[in-house]
């Protein structure tokens, strides 16, 4: 009996003999906040995340470079007058800024700077500040004004949380401080073109300095000064990159293919033109992009008209340029045109037949970036992309110098004409350009004035052609205060009359454009009338500008015409909800 009592007591004591710290449980497979930033390796790991913020520019959705737009696209919604403070998105991405600011506030918490090589530490700090600058550039472009936050916020930071906008001057000043710190402290070399260097920061100054400088110059209503300051910062940065001798315009030696080939390379390591690349891979770990999904849009007549003739004269100076047939349009043009478009005779990878343009998209189809690798589909391509390339720096350089009024023929030769050399186009002559500014360009960009009007117009043409489909167009048109042009309906190919059209260059009609399925008269005599790919105006997707002939236009532009309210449309509205939560936030001009 007694042994059982003893047993119970032992049992009970064992049970209740609870450990003192029974309720203390510590995580074992996660990093707690105070256990990191012990070495420069930790700094690298943290800042690795910043590479996710780079995206290659691509697509010029809803600009005057495209005919057909996806309705969900923000610019299209804006131009159609459908954007409101209630339905707009945006004012987002603050988690990114927090990640950057958290790094800057905490990287030295554990006394790292006492033991580590300061140059290495500063490289990562510079990367963080560079990333913050880029983040704020996005906000400035969208909203013009934005609150500047440079610490990771907590819930009780009431003042910062409910802060209103800082001025554009203040924020841009801070951006420039960050960029200049980055340019001074980032490493000059890297093991691969995928890693950041000082040259990337300079390329960003070149890009943003031009943006900000021209914005200030042309958006006079905003009352901003210092346009020249930012243009000078741009040219200085460009100059440093040029002077370094590290970079050049890449070519394979063949002007007929070099331009296209540049954009479909598997890797840019060792490519002298690329300052920073973004890698994509179809193999695991997979990361792919879809910059050319060609049935989402067509390229516009307006862009098509911009390409010069091979002799350097404007296409728009050709007699009857406005009534040329589809195949004819491609004849004797700047070689970049047939390397940007699916020109007559183009075969889509893996196909035996020539590609047939689609009238419902206007008829001009993008080829640039489209890889000819059979493994790739358009929406999951693995060609690497250039986030910054030297040719852009050269274009920035020429434009900033021209806007500053300090450009010389020598500058043109080392910039624009170096870019043109890849495709064997004749050089731009400053005197010729300025003495007789192209009338069509002048109409396109009515704000350009002054002694350098002619050369600026040609630099803008060059930029549009060289950087086509790389995502610059919207920003360029906005900073040039050229929004009204964006509101014009964009047109596609010329259709001389209902009937069959040759689009492959073999003289045999491939497609037919008819008024309706029952009105087959124009093709009845054709031997291949049954196999023609037919498009009908009666389907309601497109129309012809003269009814039964003319350029292909999009019915949507007639149903709901585009418009541009200045200066309101140069800015995005802040979603209503955010201005309710923080009443100190004011909407940008006009909203």
């Amino acid at each position: 009996m007694k042994k059982y009592i003893l047993l119970i007591i032992i049992f009970a004591v064992t049970l209740v003999g609870c450990e003192k710290d029974f309720l203390d449980r510590v995580p074992e497979t996660d990093i707690t906040a105070d256990g990191f930033f012990n070495s420069t390796a930790d700094l690298e790991i943290y800042t690795n995340g910043f590479y996710d913020y780079f995206g290659a520019g691509s697509r010029d959705n809803s600009t005057d470079d495209q005919t057909r737009h996806s309705e969900g696209d923000g610019l299209n919604t804006l131009l159609k007058g459908n954007l409101t403070v209630s339905n707009t998105g945006g004012w987002s991405g603050w988690g990114t800024l927090r990640d950057i600011n958290y790094f800057l506030a905490n990287y030295d918490n554990n006394g790292l700077s006492e033991s580590a090589d300061p140059a290495v530490v500063n490289h990562y700090v510079a990367f963080a500040r560079f990333s913050r600058a880029r983040w704020y550039i996005g906000k400035i472009k969208d909203y013009g004004m934005v609150p500047w936050i440079d610490v990771p916020l907590n819930v009780d930071d009431d003042e910062l949380l409910t802060k209103g906008h800082d001025t554009r001057d203040f924020v841009v000043g801070k951006i420039m401080e960050d960029l200049e710190f980055a340019a001074a402290n980032l490493s000059e070399t890297a093991a691969t073109r995928s890693r950041i260097t000082k040259w990337v920061a300079l390329a960003e100054i070149s890009r943003f300095g031009l943006y900000e400088g021209t914005f200030r110059k042309y958006h006079e209503y905003a009352g901003l000064s210092d346009a020249d300051l930012y243009l000078s910062k741009s040219t200085n940065a460009s100059q440093q990159i040029i002077d370094s001798g590290n970079y050049g315009v890449w070519t394979n030696g063949d002007p007929e293919t070099a331009y296209n080939e540049f954009f479909i390379q598997g890797s840019y390591n060792g490519n002298e033109e690329v300052i920073l690349q973004i890698e994509y891979s179809y193999a695991e770990p997979r990361r792919t992009h879809g910059v050319v999904v060609y049935w989402y849009w067509g390229l516009s007549k307006n862009l098509t008209d911009s390409y010069l003739m091979t002799d350097g004269t404007p296409f728009t100076s050709q007699p009857n340029y406005d009534t040329k047939g589809y195949v004819e349009v491609f004849e004797d043009r700047d070689p970049r045109m047939s390397q940007t478009y699916m020109s007559p005779g183009y075969k889509y990878p893996n196909e035996e037949n020539d590609y047939l343009v689609r009238a419902t998209y206007g008829g001009y189809t993008q080829q640039k970036f489209l890889h000819n690798d059979e493994d790739e589909s358009q929406w999951s391509a693995e060609t690497d992309m250039a986030a910054y390339r030297y040719a852009e720096v050269l274009l920035n350089y020429a434009e900033a110098k021209a806007e500053l009024g300090t450009i010389t023929q020598g500058d043109l030769n080392s910039s624009i004409n170096a870019v043109r050399a890849r495709v064997n186009m004749p050089g731009l002559d400053m005197a010729t350009a300025n003495s007789n500014p192209d009338a069509v360009q002048a109409e396109q960009y009515p704000n350009v004035t002054g002694d350098n009007k002619g050369v600026i117009l040609e630099i803008r043409r060059e930029r549009r052609v060289e950087l086509a489909c790389e995502g610059f167009r919207r920003g360029d048109m906005f900073r040039w205060k050229n929004g009204l042009t964006l509101a014009e309906p964009q047109l596609g190919m010329y259709v001389p009359a209902f009937g069959g059209i040759d689009v492959t260059g073999d003289g045999v009609p491939d497609i037919a454009i008819l008024n309706s399925p029952s009105e087959t008269g124009p093709i009845d005599a054709l031997p291949n009338k049954d196999t023609l790919v037919k498009y009908y105006v009666s389907d309601g997707t497109f129309y012809l500008t003269d009814g039964d002939s003319g350029f292909i236009g999009m019915t949507g532009d007639v149903n709901q015409p585009k418009s541009f309210e200045e200066p309101k449309y140069y800015y995005n509205p802040i979603p209503l909800h955010h201005t309710i939560i923080n009443p100190n936030l004011t909407q940008p001009a006009g909203w």
Partner: protein
């Protein structure tokens, strides 16, 4: 693909005998053992039988007043042999001296008597105690039901017997008012439980306790339902508070069976089930109709087909052309003109499942034992690869009196649960299958997969997940009794281990899109991979408690309970995955060469509690009880760790008062209770800020780089939620306890709910941390009524009963940091489940109505590329501003929206009808919801409800095709044909009155017809019962006919109907 299949088969034949086979084998072995055992028992009885022959036993059965009782059933225990008393209460039965007679009569307590040497047995049956004296398991003890003062409900083992469902939850659904159970059609479903409606915005489920040990809903889903003796539901704080903070939203107390009878009881039951698919859309498959319809739907974005293709489809439809052809414009491509019903291609219409279980139990002189085994095979719906759950359960219970005052017991549960499923299943796959265009085909003429065949059939075969849970739980307890049993001391320790391993692989599936070999593509992963994961969960649970009970002066019954409880849980998971299988048919990480990833995660939590209960009953009429428990949790900051949970309840049994003694009440009892419980609503490491780590999406040198990111914010102080529950109730019984009823009203406040704090400007850059900032009020009632009686038909007793239960709850936000009353967050005064929507105003019938009506730009689907036209839905301009809008999405300015319904299920009910006569038994069980609204705006609805109105790359339902707006059919069910109108949050995908569904329903959950073979047919075998049963046989609902009322917002696993036959033998 064949390789993989063969491999799988070889693997299983090598070392995986099927579970049903295993169970059957084990059952056979056990049966042999039992038959042998019985043989020896029989021999023994023959040895001693020389002077105890079979004899005729007679007697008279009366009630306590001496009135003879006619129609009393007398059965020889363990057999089906028996007789009834005649009109004078007399009986006569032939029996052996060792037999035991069971006397039973409706409204009376059954009596069990041994015959021994007696020839005459006169019996007095007392009034039924079923309602009044039933003993109910409550926290840390048992109580007479009559003495309960909290809100408690009980179901017995009959709920679980012979239902062709395999989980406890499915059997419990509808049986108890305000116990809400949600399960899916998947063979591996883990039903979710809820007691009394909305608990906390952060979620909160009832505590599950199996035989005194805290358990999980998964444990309930895995256990053998036939092991259950009773389930007690503790609904209010007073009843649950002894379990403290874990029990703030009620408790399910599950008690398993034990050896109860001196005689060895052996039960064997088998059943086999056929399951068929529930509601599915009927599709329009005629290619000549489908192509033009989809073509119109896709305008103006796509010209899907040409006139030539329409003409060809016409010829195929007439049987004049092949349904697959080489494209006339591209000799490398096939074109398809089929009439494929993809659901039939991929899903089985019928699947087969079986279960077998057996148990043996006995009460011995110094102890008892209960042993059970169960094998279950549950098949799913997929035609290819596996979709099978196999479960195997063993329970071993025994207890032994070490001394006259000390008892030692062990309760061990061992289980294996394996679920083998294709990698491709799940909701995304089901949606794809439902959405696949009917004119496409699974196979090309050369036998290769098409792209869609590869996605559906190929993907099913291309990869597999096998999840195998092996677990055991064992509890040791010592129970000591002192002072003539007035003091009981119990110490127990329970140890639960669950080891889960999962092996998976996935392979690319090749298809061709044309006759030329270069037109090959792949579905699935770019490289074949294999993976494994193991996770180990450990629970240790200890209790020590003492109960003292005494009766003073025959009127003062005092019970005091005090105890201590602690529990800890750890979770440890490792896994690895590797791509680049050397051979797709050998899916192991060891046989792969590509990228590999390993992972590890660990977590642990612990709780401690000290509890006490004082219960005082005066004169069996007045009952008062107070409970208190002090709980600590590892999940909070040290200083916020502990919480005190008090409760009190009182009850008055008025029917025992003299002035009501002769009233028509057999029972009239009032109850009232109040309690406050803490609720632990935080993750294991909620107080720790963690840096995010992982692979960046960017590549450097072709590899993902590792990145770290900033930690989220954590509130500087947070702690327990507080749940305060009030309950009043009344219990009633009339007409000799044949009619019983009870009603409860409750009011529950969930205070300081752990929820996101005040919304802050987004410049914060991270989620506002959760804090104790929000309050919720839930209130409701529950009611049940039960009638049972019997009368004779053809001199055989006809017994029948009907039980109906009904419960309701509503929940309102009483505090929420939302000063602008934004409709995108909770707001004060909001009722949970509110559906805000537009008021539909019919279709536009003319262009003039569009031109002069309110501006619909904000709500129309793609208004600029596809302008509004007659046949489009139109909304009422509620605020009269000429524009249909969302306003500023606040309560004060909701635009043209208002509350149009509520998505919560109210008036949940169950109706259980039972009858028995002459060996036959019939049960019909209905379950349903009285009020619920549903707007078909979810992902699933794009395939089941809207189909081609969501995407032109879709199947076309019969309703789509036949019942859409045309100038001739201006009030059709669907608008004019246009795709993308049911997605993107515009037009018809907006919640609105027109397509708001009444989701209430009544469903025949179960009907069972059983027959117990007459004794002379089964002499010396035992009692044999055969039954046929149906589950989810039909439903009455106003829902759109393709939607299943229990699978709205579902995971895509279709609900199924079950038909079952089975048999049970009791030895």
């Amino acid at each position: 693909m064949k390789n993989i299949k063969n491999f799988r088969f070889r693997k299983s034949s090598l070392y995986k005998i099927g579970y049903t086979t295993k169970a059957t084998l084990l059952l056979l072995c056990l049966s042999l053992f039992i038959i042998q055992a019985r043989a020896s028992v029989t021999v023994n009885s023959i040895e001693v039988s020389e002077n105890v022959q079979q004899r005729n036993v007679t007697g008279i059965v009366t009630d306590k007043n001496g009135t003879p009782l006619p129609g009393v059933t007398i059965i020889i225990e363990g057999t089906s042999r028996g007789t009834d008393t005649d009109f004078d209460g007399k009986y006569s039965i032939s029996a052996n001296s060792g037999d035991v007679l069971v006397f039973s009569y409706i409204g009376m307590t059954s009596q069990t008597l041994k015959i021994e040497n007696k020839l005459e047995l006169n019996v007095i049956l007392l009034e039924d105690s079923n309602v009044l004296d039933e003993v109910v398991v409550v926290g840390y003890g048992t109580k007479k039901k009559i003495n309960l003062s909290g809100a408690v409900a009980v179901v017995g083992e009959d709920v679980f017997e012979d239902r062709p469902v395999t989980t406890v939850g499915q059997a419990l659904q509808g049986t108890i008012a305000n116990l809400n159970v949600v399960s899916s059609g998947s063979p591996n479903t883990v039903p979710d439980f809820n007691i009394r409606g909305v608990t906390s915005l952060a979620g909160g489920e009832p505590l599950v306790v199996i035989d005194g040990v805290t358990a999980t809903q998964s444990d309930l889903a895995r256990m053998n339902p036939n092991d259950i003796a009773s389930v007690t539901i503790l609904k209010d704080a007073a009843a649950a508070s002894i379990y403290g903070s874990r029990a703030s939203f009620g408790v399910l107390l599950v008690t398993t069976k034990s050896g109860k009878s001196d005689k060895m009881n052996i039960n064997v039951a088998v059943n086999t089930r056929i399951q068929t698919l529930g509601r599915f859309p009927e599709l329009e498959l005629d290619v000549a109709k489908v192509l033009p319809f989809l073509h119109d739907m896709a305008k103006p974005w796509y010209n899907l087909f040409t006139q030539e293709q329409f003409d060809y489809a016409e010829q195929v439809s007439l049987g004049n052309a092949e349904p697959t052809r080489i494209s006339p414009t591209d000799p490398n491509k096939y074109e398809y003109f089929h009439s494929t019903n993809w659901r039939e291609t991929v899903l089985n219409d019928v699947s087969y499942s079986t279960s077998a279980n057996m148990n043996i139990s006995q009460k011995l002189d110094k102890g008892s034992y209960y042993i059970s085994v169960e094998g279950v095979k549950n098949s799913g719906i997929y035609k290819y690869n596996n979709d099978v759950q196999k479960r195997f359960n063993i329970r071993l219970k025994s207890d032994y009196d070490l001394t006259s005052w000390l008892n030692f017991s062990n309760n061990t549960w061992i289980y294996n649960n394996e679920y083998d499923e294709s990698n491709a299943t799940g909701s995304a796959f089901m949606r794809q299958v439902m959405g696949n265009r009917s004119y496409l085909a699974p196979y090309n003429p050369d036998g290769t997969y098409t792209e869609y065949g590869a996605y559906s059939i190929g993907r099913l075969l291309g990869g597999n997940y096998n999840t195998n849970e092996n677990g055991y739980q064992t509890s040791f307890a010592l129970k000591a009794k002192f002072f003539e049993d007035r003091l009981t001391v119990v110490g127990d320790g329970s140890f639960k281990r669950l080891l889960t391993d999962r092996e998976a692989y996935d392979t690319p599936v090749q298809y061709s899109s044309g006759p030329n070999p270069q037109n090959i593509g792949y579905e699935g992963p770019s490289e074949a991979w294999a993976s494994f994961a193991n996770w180990r969960e450990e629970w240790n649970n200890y209790n020590v408690y003492a109960t003292f009970n005494d009766l003073y002066n025959e009127k003062h019954n005092v019970t005091v309970l005090a105890g201590y409880n602690q529990e800890e849980h750890t979770y440890n998971r490792t896994g690895g995955q590797r791509s680049g299988l050397i051979s797709a048919g050998l899916p192991s990480v060891e046989l792969a060469t590509g990228n590999q990833e390993v992972s590890h995660s660990y977590s642990s939590w612990a709780v401690q509690g000290m509890f006490a209960r004082l219960n005082y009953i005066y004169d069996d009429k007045y009952i008062v009880e107070v409970n208190g428990r002090y709980d600590g949790s590892s999940r909070y900051y040290k200083e916020d760790r502990w919480v005190f949970n008090p409760s009190a309840s009182a009850s008055w049994i008025a029917s025992k008062e003299n002035f009501l003694e002769d009233s028509f009440f057999d029972l009239l009892k009032f109850r009232v209770s109040y309690g406050s419980l803490g609720n632990q609503n935080a993750g294991s490491y909620a107080t720790y800020p963690f840096l995010g780590t992982g692979n960046a999406s960017s590549l450097i040198g072709g590899e993902n780089i590792v990145e770290a990111s900033s930690p989220g914010l954590i509130a500087p102080s947070f702690s327990w939620e507080t749940i305060k529950t009030k309950n009043i109730g009344v219990d009633l019984a009339f007409l000799n306890n044949r009619l019983t009823s009870s009603f409860d009203y409750y009011h529950r406040l969930t205070l300081d709910m752990f929820a996101p704090g005040l919304e802050l400007p987004v410049v914060l850059g991270t989620a506002v941390p959760d804090e104790n900032a929000t309050d919720l009020r839930t209130e409701g009632w529950e009611f049940n009524v039960s009638w049972r009686d019997e009368f004779d038909i053809s001199n055989k007793p006809f017994k029948y009963s009907a039980t109906f239960n009904l419960g309701d709850s509503r929940a309102f936000i009483t505090k929420f940091p939302n000063p602008t009353n934004s409709l995108s967050r909770y707001r004060v005064g909001e009722e949970i489940g509110e559906i805000w929507g537009f008021v539909s105003d019919g279709y536009y019938q003319t262009q003039e109505e569009i031109d002069f009506g309110p501006d619909h730009t904000d709500v129309a689907s793609y208004p600029s590329t596809r302008p509004q036209a007659p046949g489009d839905i139109r909304f009422k301009d509620l605020n009269g501003d000429g524009v249909i809008s969302y306003g500023d999405n606040t309560l004060d300015n909701p635009g043209d929206r208002k509350i149009i319904g509520n998505s919560r299920a109210r008036y949940n009910f169950g109706l259980d009808l039972n009858a028995q006569w002459n060996g036959f038994d019939l049960k019909a069980f209905f379950q349903g919801v009285g009020k619920k609204d549903y707007y078909p705006g979810g992902w699933q609805d794009r395939y089941y409800f809207w189909s081609a109105f969501a995407f032109p790359w879709s199947s076309v339902t019969k309703e789509n095709y036949n019942n859409h707006w045309t100038p001739e059919n201006r009030n059709a069910f669907y608008p004019r044909p246009k795709s993308y109108v049911a997605e993107g949050g515009k037009e018809v995908s907006l919640s609105q009155t027109r397509w708001l569904q009444d989701a209430s329903y009544v469903r025949l959950k179960n009907v069972t017809l059983g027959y117990t073979l007459p004794e002379n047919a089964t002499k010396n075998i035992g009692t044999i019962r055969v039954f046929a049963s149906g589950e989810n046989l039909f439903e009455i609902s106003k829902l759109f006919k393709y939607l299943d009322p229990e699978n709205l917002n579902g995971n895509g696993y279709p609900f199924r109907r079950t038909y079952s036959i089975g048999a049970s033998i009791k030895f």
